[in-house]
Symmetry: C2
Subunit: 419 residues, 2 copies
Amino acid sequence: MVIVGAGFGGLFAARFLRHAPVEVTLVDRTNHHLFQPLLYQVATGILSAGQIAPPTRDVLKSQKNTTVELAEVTGIDVAARQVAVVRPDGRPLTLPYDSLIVGAGAGQSYFGHDEFAEFAPGMKTLDDALAQRERIFGAFEMAELEEDADRRQAWLTFVVVGGGPTGVEISGQIAELSRRALTDNFRRFDPAAEVKVLLFEGGKEILATFGDRLSEKGTKALQKTGVEVHTGSIVAGVDADGVDVKGPDGTVTRYPAKTKIWAAGVSASPLAKILADGSGAECDRAGRIKVKPDCSLAGHPEVFAVGDMMNLNDLPGVAEVAMQTGIHAARTIRRRLNGEEPQPFKYRDLGSMAAVSRRRAIVSFHGVRVSGFLGWLMWLFVHLAFMTGFKNRFKTLISWSLSFLGRGRTERALTRHVG
Amino acid sequence: MVIVGAGFGGLFAARFLRHAPVEVTLVDRTNHHLFQPLLYQVATGILSAGQIAPPTRDVLKSQKNTTVELAEVTGIDVAARQVAVVRPDGRPLTLPYDSLIVGAGAGQSYFGHDEFAEFAPGMKTLDDALAQRERIFGAFEMAELEEDADRRQAWLTFVVVGGGPTGVEISGQIAELSRRALTDNFRRFDPAAEVKVLLFEGGKEILATFGDRLSEKGTKALQKTGVEVHTGSIVAGVDADGVDVKGPDGTVTRYPAKTKIWAAGVSASPLAKILADGSGAECDRAGRIKVKPDCSLAGHPEVFAVGDMMNLNDLPGVAEVAMQTGIHAARTIRRRLNGEEPQPFKYRDLGSMAAVSRRRAIVSFHGVRVSGFLGWLMWLFVHLAFMTGFKNRFKTLISWSLSFLGRGRTERALTRHVG
């Protein structure tokens, strides 16, 4: 059988099948399993790339029935039951399958404004996060060079678009950075006094999925950290020097800002449409393929779509859904091998959480809503628990101790040219 | 005053002047102080970039008399006493000085064969080390794709040119990697059995500066780790698919190898020649500027050249010389401010060391020669001691514990395209 994607969906499916009587080929275009929820910590210099991206081969090394194939999927022929891939050396290859699990994730969506991408990149891959790191720390370097006060302020203004967990976490960390980690680093400006972090959210509140009470607590914590929160604000234009934002009253305001980060929307992997076209299934507005209750495709009980790229009861695009649907698809395959009937997927909601600032997080879990330091400890525990590999857990705990108890960001070396 | 370069020479000069009644401008084209002796550990996935490259601004943040300028030096006019730089935004700037310390280091030298550089890059900057990391781990990925046995063997053959400490350390670590860290990671080959690491040294022994006895011990330890040591072997040709090596008997042998690393020679920064042309001083064959006994230039007691780019009594190009000459130049400037005469530089030889393999190093110190585990403990202690910043020391110790007591390499995420 073939699994496409080494994210939470694909990796957990592969691990579930470690003792099953199947030959598994796991295909991914990168060599690593990426812990996406912590990408923002790579972007803000807390964690190194390797800490959130263990090599897939290494994670699965003792699983003898599994081969990891580094290749990019270019097509899936559900009628002929084969996956077309291109390897890094350019050679095409066809992987036949009896069962297929596709967990190819989602990319950034600009809601029809793809021209924003150049100036407000998103953060979905390790490369994205490393590029954001260069942009964020590079902006401080550029500010230090700038004699003109207005132009310097534009370098010291950071715009984050989107008030979901990712937008909240990255804006909180940029504020923490300027208020604490970069103290005394510059001679021509004071980061704590001059940096502005602006968070724009189109809806009426940030962290809307957490409910009003936590949303309000999150907003207050974020403001205390130094983030200006603008709700009911649609980003209508983005260029090299700033953003144009349509406020709740309909007027458009210009905010000069050199660094913009897009965290406002996702769009499913193009493989969702390829699967839909091949099987006659439908895609929703976010490009996610609609699946049957057991995560398989209509008319193709041997093909499963899992995680961010599929739509089942409008479940959210979070790691927890990807893991559970990946495991469910794998379990269904094993049941079929045993001659058992498939069962519908049931989501066990383990709650959601967002780390708003240093030592403060909000957590929503079965109606229990926790915020502040206790929430942060829960956030810490859960993220360590779902991290892959003892060594990465241990090193991450050390990095967090140094960054959150102390002040430092150790991953600040710029490698590309600034500017 | 101006200091050019944030390496061991420049940084230690700046720190020495922290209480001196001078305004210091430290210019570097990168944002970090690089711990060059550990670059090979970044290349082989043991350490992250940030662990050996703390931001220069952060190191000097509490030193109020010092400004760090991110810029590339394009010229030095010793007659007019000014340094010409270009900032990352492209704007030129002129920095006048009363005193100047230049510690711009050295790059790789190919002894007139610059065409080798494309296929056998060196390892002098953080970018170099990260690119080597992609090449080394990428080669294993390419081997896993290759069905042809000969072509696979070429991907699994690593050539290191140059038997000095850097060449020995990187070849030892690649061998460790294949023998221990990558066990069970691949399905189409066994790294421990099939990887070849070839070290070519033109002279009659590797680690020649350590003396015959340690050189022999180092050779044996390296061979035990799995490195083939070829002495008296001149690399006469390098291309995409391998190297041509002229052996001690004069015959040329072809070694197919996809990954080649150059660690064979250094050439001083072009600033050495610019200083020489301006002051009438001479450069030696390696491009190093000859300086007076106090490290200043003849006729220009206000200009000092320190570290790898200068030649004083043919001192070796090691971190220890750079630190001590940097401090000496800074001390001479302070003495002059106090109306005291300059003194000649005296090198305190703290010995030299090379980590041959996991838990084995050779150390030469005032005629005392140590090898094996005790040598490795000394290596460990000295490297931690000279590392900048408590946090980097602490994290590095953790990484070493995990990599040298355990088996892991946590920094293996490939970000660019493999191949």
